[in-house]
Symmetry: C2
Subunit: 477 residues, 2 copies
Amino acid sequence: MTPDEFRKAGHELIELIADYREQVADMPVRSSAAVGEVLRQMPESAPIEAEPASNVIKDVENLLLPHLTHWQHPSFHAYFPANAELSSVLGDLLSSGLGQLGLNWQSSPPLTEVEQVTCDWLRQALGLSVDWQGVIQDTASTATLVALLCAREKSTGFAQMSDGVRTCGELVVYSSQQAHSSIMKASLLAGFGQNSVRACAVNADFSIDVHALAEMIEQDLAAGRKPCAIVGCTGTTAITAMDDIEQLAQLAEIYNCWLHVDGAMAGSAMILPEMRHLWQGVEQADSIVINPHKWLGTVFDCSVYYVRDVEHLVRVMSTNPSYLQTSADGQAPNYRDWGIPLGRRFRAMKLWWLLRCEGVSGLQQRLRRDIDNARWLAQQIEQAEHWRLIAPVALQTVCIIHEPPHITTAEQLDNHTQSWCEAINSSGEAMLTPATITENDGETRWMVRVSIGALKTERLHIEHLWQVLQKSVAGQL
Amino acid sequence: MTPDEFRKAGHELIELIADYREQVADMPVRSSAAVGEVLRQMPESAPIEAEPASNVIKDVENLLLPHLTHWQHPSFHAYFPANAELSSVLGDLLSSGLGQLGLNWQSSPPLTEVEQVTCDWLRQALGLSVDWQGVIQDTASTATLVALLCAREKSTGFAQMSDGVRTCGELVVYSSQQAHSSIMKASLLAGFGQNSVRACAVNADFSIDVHALAEMIEQDLAAGRKPCAIVGCTGTTAITAMDDIEQLAQLAEIYNCWLHVDGAMAGSAMILPEMRHLWQGVEQADSIVINPHKWLGTVFDCSVYYVRDVEHLVRVMSTNPSYLQTSADGQAPNYRDWGIPLGRRFRAMKLWWLLRCEGVSGLQQRLRRDIDNARWLAQQIEQAEHWRLIAPVALQTVCIIHEPPHITTAEQLDNHTQSWCEAINSSGEAMLTPATITENDGETRWMVRVSIGALKTERLHIEHLWQVLQKSVAGQL
């Protein structure tokens, strides 16, 4: 494609994206596509001859846009906010357009140095001390795998440099029953084995039961196993519950475990000084992951992994082939040795654009708006008949259930929950996520998560949502 | 940022990128920045108040652009081609702008289905049979880790679901002395331990010595170890040497090993039917990785991992928490279970744009041009006094050394090599990579890799390079 063809199609796409953002609020939130509907309309093979960009744009408009699920919609309350602020979209466009690749510092000095700067800017904004250094990874799943690999190598005295984990006894990883599935996945991939991964019981507020955890660890020690890592959640997946990081840090110190803090979604809230009590003790952790590609607004993917001991990270991850050695080695960070991939995209660009074009105070205002909105919705739920909050609302996730008196069995209730949630999702009025939760009565039931924090979600959208919720359980959607 | 602010800055960036591509040929290829030069000019903290995009664009122009190493320059011959075709840049812009996120099919049906389609289009273009299914990963390092995890779990009968690798004896991974550093890294991360990773001797053409490999495997078996995986390279890192995949497949079958084919860079050449003999036997492999983000031209990052047994891959990688379950499960691929990360960017968009806007025949023409250029340069080297090709030129990598008669010691020769290479890189006329190689005489020496295949590299640039090479060894640069 020539630069002039790029100009023409590029300007069209800028307009298309701006139009999309202006019009998205009027679209049904969830896609109503049937499985295979998009695929079936595409040719079976790639074209032999080049097509003009206008053909592709036409297909984007006719074939893709009508079938999207709109994550940028103000009534998107499913999963978690995956905000793609337009300022960070611009940063990412520049990253692609300049075609830079990070292999070592020399291969693109700005790529490395902007990453150093933005990770440090974000560290300060989060209120973390200068002891922490960050690196951008694709997702929290990957960062958690890196954390557990670091834990494994610390516990085994760098077994990977000799016989690997097979000679090191049974290493155990601990997290909460409410922890993200990526923690189990990372444990298995790191070689721990499912039998050595513990899901600890939780308190009434769904935070990890630290006494139960201490008991678990003691039992493992008594059985000759080696406690290796504790993963604490600043914001669990289903509930956004807050583990007591300070107490976990004490256990980690006593039992010589790695402490990884998973703040993938809720960590963004730590840009608000009034929320930092939620991860009190974080300075004693060994690693933290925070995803600026969620609530904060950096376009996916941009997960920042912070560690205190960079030397340890590099020792676990480093490779040093001759063709990558340059005279700058040792003066600048070689980020290839801070994670799994060798090559790096200029990912810091989109975070840099976000922080500059929104400003820390702009980001703070938006997050405070969302927390206020969540509180308002929680109040309506608490005051309404037959509605119940499943858990305290620490930040922006409101977990709810509707229990009308005519429903008497657990199965009926689960059916009711899934049915009214699906009615809302099918209507396109809003999008929510059903999920299971084991409550304090020991019963596992379906509930509905309302995750608040899309860029464009204002109070009026939450007021509308509350109407939609009530209509839905009344069968009026 | 409002849509209107986005429009204004977006149109400016489209022009900036087009201008950059038009002007890049006139810039020195390698950055002449000092370590910390960019960083020192940036504020210590993120701005509190939002800045206009024009501020950021100004900094891009004044602070970043002058310090880039230009991967898109026609005289960029370092490392490998990391082409960012403008058509794929547009695809990536759209991916960012639409702010889609893949968690399951429902979360963005087009994201999943365009990935299905483009991975299959690429499969056909590469001449692979319908037995293969692909998934986009970030880099080959990650894909190779996934491959070795699949190998580990196959060898151990899914040890991760019970006690992990600690109870499974010593598993061994085999690759060539010329294999990429990511293979050792992935082996260590997967828990094999350095003592269980074998670097096999190579033949005169730097391909793996299959007889030596068979002997190694026999020795390991005799010692009670378990051969687990063989990694064959279609294009080694330094030389672009071609392992004999057919023979490796025979060994893999005999010894019940996983066979992973690393075609990260050179795999792109398999879109040329006349080159497919270079990976003869690939249909018998278990997994293949190819990086469309290298020579092929998809903007980084886009690495495609092909497997024949999807069910096995999913069994190793799957997680299935309630909040991700939808009625479409089982009808559409859940790509979260095909790799390490849970969330997915709409990465297929940039590959889809590339394939459509360039056409298979356009891509073939470009790659053939590059192979011709490499052959032409190889001929000049062969015919010139005191110059020598280190290895046969299979595709587009030309590895060279200059051995003037006045140099008599190995140390002098290494100094000479590094010195003329650095003279070229410092001059900005071209960028090459020095690397070490152990030749057939058993000596390890420095040589220089000329990697040909940037988008804009025409014969005239290679003719100019040959002049620059001659000037450089004559001390005239």
